[in-house]
Structures are given as C-alpha cells and as structure tokens.
C-alpha cells in the first residue's frame, strides 16, 4: 500500500537550533496515525513543515492522493498544500471569531470553488449556483459534525469544545484526504474528549479521510491510533502500534527520565 504521506529525512533548523533532525514518517491511508512526544519535541514544527508554514531545511515530503500519483510537496505554499488535499487544525484554536459558524465553514469551500470578482458583481447564474452549493455543502458538513444548532452564531460565542469541532469542520470543508489535527483534545473535558474520539473515528470510517494527529492525552491516543510515532528533541525515537509503544523502554525514558534505580 502506498503511503498517503511520507516525510524523508526531514530537518528543520532555526538558526543554530535543530528542531527536526532527519525525521522519517509514513502515514498509511485509512488509518489514524498519532505523533506523541514531550513538550518541545518538535511535533508542531513537523506539522508546520508539512503544511508549508515553514520551509524545511532538508528532506522531502511526498503525498499520494487516493487513486492518484505520488507528488512532492516540499516547500509548497500553505494554500497549495491545502489545495493538494492535506488540511489541518491548530493547537491554539484559529477560527475566524467574527464570522458565523456557517461562514467559517464556507471559507473552507473557497479553494474548491472559483467564482471571481466579475461574478460577484454581475451575480450570474453560475456564481449564484456555486454560492448555493457552498452553503448547502457547508451545512451538510456542520450537520455531520453536529454543530447545526449554532449555525448562525458568531464563532467567538461558541463554547470551547464546539470551537474545536468547528475547526475540524472547516478543515473537512476543503475536501482533504488527510487531516492533520494538532492537539485536538487540549483543554477539553472528559465528555468532550469522548465525543471527539467518536468524531475522529467517524472521520476515518465515514468520511474516509486519513487522520494524523498530535496529542498529549495518552488514553485518547492509545485507544484511537492504528500506529504511533514518538518524537523527542527533534528525533523520531520510536514507531509502532500503541501496544508496542507502551512497552518501549526508549519512550518510557523520554517521558519519565532515566531510571535511577537501574
């Protein structure tokens, strides 16, 4: 099976600091892959490299859309990565606070639609049909995510958990085949985390979108993931199934420090 996302020897330097050191990662289609590691391990930097926010110092990133051919996306602009089918959410929520929930999702449809300035002024049939389709599709997505009761509310007025879900809805609106979630459960209460778990599974199974997530909530990661990568100090120190990772001495060391008694 061709990996849906592959990073080869990806390195990122910030001045003298090596935030990523020859990281190799393979994400398989139809799977939920997790990336864990202590704070400052370089997980978000890795996401930023993939999604074009940073341009990696060395290494390559390839994606293979389902039924498509392998494509190199190293150093792509942010919007071109999204256009290629890799959407993301952010660690600190970045919804558009002064737009309504529906409008937030409508923005996600931007890159799959193409009416321009002239269409906006003339409002010809094509533009209006497209506009209608954007609204209909956005509403459909919100329905699936379960945010329809807030549809006309300004996003800033949403409760925290709903804001996180909105960010996911907005990312899904760009028709991705791979969704990158940066700490989706951060700050959520146990009930919200449970709902999120169900949502992520449904994204994989019903939406048929592969998921690659960074998460600190170990219960969530271990219960959810098909495969787990562990990073520490910019290096990939382990990969495997949740079961293997749990028993990996390297991982335990990274999280808990050296075993003094040994």
């Amino acid at each position: 099976m061709n990996p849906i996302l592959e990073a080869r020897k990806l390195s990122m330097n910030f001045g003298g600091l090596r935030a990523l050191d020859r990281v190799d990662i393979v994400v398989l289609p139809g799977q939920i892959t997790a990336l864990i590691g202590p704070n400052g391990a370089g997980k978000t930097t890795f996401f930023n490299c993939i999604t074009g926010i940073y341009s990696p110092t060395e290494g390559d990133i390839f994606i293979t859309p389902p039924g498509g051919r392998q494509k190199r996306i190293t150093g792509f602009n942010i919007h071109r990565v999204t256009e290629s089918g890799v959407a993301r959410t952010f660690q600190n929520i970045r919804i558009f606070p002064d737009m309504t929930v529906l409008e937030n999702v409508m923005i996600g449809r931007h890159c799959r639609t193409n009416s321009g300035v002239l269409g906006a002024i003339i409002r010809d049939k094509g533009t209006m049909a497209e506009e209608k389709a954007i609204v209909a599709r956005s509403y459909e997505i919100l329905k699936k995510i379960g945010l329809t009761e807030h549809v006309n509310l300004l996003a800033r007025n949403l409760p925290y958990g709903a804001q996180r879900r909105l960010e996911i809805a907005r990312a899904l609106a760009t028709d991705p085949f791979l969704l990158l979630l940066d700490e989706p459960a951060a700050g959520m209460n146990p009930q919200e985390t449970k709902d999120l778990e169900a949502l992520i599974i449904s994204i994989r199974d019903e939406w048929e979108v592969s998921v690659f997530l960074i998460e600190h909530d170990m219960r969530l990661v271990m219960g959810l993931s098909d495969s787990v990568y562990v990073m520490d100090y910019g290096e990939m120190i382990a990969r495997g199934t949740p079961q293997e990772i749990r028993q990996n001495p390297e991982v335990i060391k990274a999280y808990l420090g050296e075993d003094v008694s040994a």
């Binding site: 602009n77 952010f90 409008e103 931007h110």
Partner: protein, 411 residues
C-alpha cells in the same frame, strides 16, 4: 446616600480644578505672554488666563458627564447581548424603513442642483467624490484590514492619466475614465507586490512612503508631468458634443458623480457578500488560518489593492475634468489622511457610515468658512471627541451575515 453623592461631587470639583490649573499652565506661554515687537514691551494678558481656566473647568465637567453616560450605556448594550441596534442600522436593515428613506434621499439628490447655486453643486460634487474614495479605501482598510496611507497615489494616477493622455493625444473624458481606472489598478497591483509580506504598522509606513514618492515624482519629473506647474486646459466631460456653460457643466458633473456613487455602492455591496468578500474578511481575521483554508494570500491581497485603487482612479479622472487642471499639490498626504478619516469617522466597514462621514468631513469645513481660522482646530477637536466616545465610527459596521434557513435553503 447624600454624603456619598457629596463626596463624589467634591471629587469631581477637585479633578476639574486640577484640569483647569493644568490648562492654565500649559497655555500660559501662548495665551498670556505676548511680545509686542513694535514697542519692545511684553504684554501680560491675565484675562486670557482666567478665560482658559474657567473654560477648561466647565468643559471638564461636561467631559466627565459625557464619559460617565457613555460607560453606563456601554454596560447596557452588553446586558442586551448586542441586541441593541442604532436607528441608522435599523433604517438600513429593515426594508419597510429603508425603501422610503432611500426614495427621499434620491429625490433630494435629484432636486439639489436645481434649487441651489453652482457653488453649492460644486461642493456637493466634491463631497460625492470623497464618498467614492472612501468606499474604495474601505475595501482595502475596512474589509481586508490592510492600512493604506498612500491612497492618494491612485487618485493622482487617475487624474494624471486623463491630463497626460489629453495633453499628448487629445484623448477625451469618456475614454480616459476606464484608462484612468486601469492605470490606478495597475499601480495598485505594483504597490501590493512588494508589500505583501508586511502587516500593520510596517504596511502603513510603506504605503505612506509610496504616496509621498508618487507626489515627489510628479513634482520633480518635469519632462513627464510638467512639475509643480501642472497641466491645465483639461476639458470637462462632453455630452454628445454639446457645448455647455459653466453652470450646466457643473450640474452635469454632479449627476455623473451621483451615478458613479450608485454604481460604487452597488458593486461594493455585492463584493462584500461574495466569495471574494468572505476571503478578504477571513484574511483580516487570521492570516495563517485563512491560508490553511486554501486561500491564496497573495491573490486576495492583490485583488483587494486592485479593487480599492480602481475607484481612486475613476475619481481621479473626474477630479481632473472638474478642476480642468492638475498639479501635485492636490495629492499630498493630507488627502490620504482625509480619506482615511472619512472611513474611520464614518465607521470602518459600513457603507452608510462612510457616506455620512464623507458628507460631514467635506461639507462641514465648507459651511464653516465663517470660522475659517479655526477650521482645522474644530476638525481636530471633532476627531478627538469622536475617537474618545465613539471609536467605532458614526455607524457601526454591521456585516450582513449568512444565515441558514432550512425551509428556504437560501441566503
């Protein structure tokens, strides 16, 4: 209860005394001391000091009263969960009210030139020009959130396009109108390209520089723009080759401006409620998230600059035709500041607010000619008071949001 009120009252008195002492001290050198250079003596005008003291004492009371009221009102509106809307907003949003209001405004606009003098019509035409300029700048500043302090450069581009094309090739007004707009649009894109990475203050400084550079080029490149002496003899717009007198030409220009205003409002309004308008808004809200949604930042910013400067180009051509003369002195930074003031004072993002802002800022100084010495002082005072008590502008920009209704399934 009464003792509480009493202490509050005494507190207020104390504050006002301090304020008036401060003002007396600050204005002492200019208001009290006067050097009489003819007789070589110093005049001490102590009466002025008393005026300043008494005046600032009373003003500080009014100030405190107003700001106290403002705070309590703000609390009220928070209590009402933002359900509080001003009369103007209601006037705009409710069809029942807005249609008759629109009809009345339109009626007045049609009748205006026939009941007033050429001078009045001329002033009104100028005000309408600033309405269009304000609406154009609003696309860049209000919608896309890109602070542009060099907007006058595009205005100049339109004016000089007509002036130069007429001077060299005898091009007429109607051909120059689209060409001027095109020139301004191209200039807008050219400016946008290098400043794409800049935000906030940095963008403001670069655009400010750009505006000044444009003016300096026009002033110094004699072979191209004829320097400070400018270009004269630009014809007014024609109407099927008819010869028009001064008055008729003014009225004709007035109606042209009315039409251009309507077109601008129509287009700006439609742009706001479109895929492009949404992208501009998203870009203003969060640049990174906006890009992560697959929106090409470069393209959206270029579009915003291009759309904004087009209007300036159009108005520039009309300006050249109206004054029949252009020179760089008409395109100073003060013009940019004026247009920006219109946008900010009227209410960033609000079409009706900008119209009111433009009419106020352009018409008020004209009708305050009686106090022409204090015009700028008054102008400044109004700005300070506005920004203190109503920083969101005369009309708060209430965006028409998309609302989803299941049954109708439409916007």
């Amino acid at each position: 209860m009464s003792t509480l009120n009493n202490t509050k009252y005494i507190e207020g008195m104390k504050q006002s005394v301090v304020v008036s002492l401060w003002f007396m001290f600050l204005t002492f050198p200019i208001m009290v001391i006067r050097v009489n250079t003819i007789e070589n003596i110093i005049e001490w005008r102590w009466m002025n000091m008393i005026y300043v003291g008494a005046g600032s004492f009373i003003l500080s009371f009014i100030w405190r009263y107003l700001s106290g009221k403002d705070i309590s009102r703000r609390k009220e509106s928070i209590d009402a969960q933002g359900g509080h809307r001003s009369y103007l907003q209601r006037l705009v949003s409710e069809k029942r009210l807005s249609l008759p209001a629109l009809a009345i405004v339109f009626g007045i606009a049609i009748i205006f030139p026939f009941v007033s003098s050429t001078y009045q019509t001329n002033i009104m035409t100028t005000a309408l020009m600033y309405v269009v300029l304000g609406l154009g700048l609003n696309i860049v500043v209000g919608q896309a959130g890109l602070l542009n302090l060099g907007y006058v450069a595009f205005y100049a581009a339109g004016a000089y396009t007509y002036a130069l094309l007429h001077h060299h090739f005898g091009v007429g007004f109607w051909l120059a109108l689209p060409l001027g707009a095109l020139a301004a649009t191209i200039l807008g894109v050219l400016l946008a390209l290098p400043v794409l990475r800049l935000q906030g203050d940095y963008l403001a400084i670069v655009t400010l520089g750009f505006g000044e550079i444009t003016r300096l080029v026009l002033e110094n490149w004699n072979e191209f723009s004829f320097g400070p002496s400018g270009i004269s003899g630009i014809p007014r717009p024609g109407l099927f080759g008819m010869e028009m007198g001064m008055h008729d030409a003014t009225v004709y220009l007035y109606f042209l401006m009315i039409i251009l205003c309507i077109v601008t409002i129509f287009v700006v309004n439609r742009l706001q409620d479109s895929r492009i308008g949404r992208a501009l808004l998203a870009l203003r809200e969060d640049e990174i998230a906006c890009q992560a949604m697959g929106i090409d930042k470069t393209r959206v910013k270029l579009t915003a600059f291009a759309l904004g400067s087009t209007w300036a180009g159009l108005v520039g051509v009309i300006f050249a035709a109206k004054t029949t003369f252009v020179n760089p002195a008409s395109f100073t930074f003060l013009e940019s500041a004026m247009i920006l003031s219109i946008v900010v004072l009227g209410g960033t993002g609000s079409i009706i607010g900008i119209i009111i802002g433009a009419l106020l800022l352009i018409l008020l100084p004209e009708y305050l000619r009686a106090f022409s010495d204090y015009r700028m002082l008054l102008f400044g005072l109004i700005m300070v008071i506005m920004m203190t008590f109503r920083p969101q502008g005369i009309v708060t920009g209430v965006r028409k949001t998309y609302e989803f209704h299941r049954e109708e399934n439409k916007l």
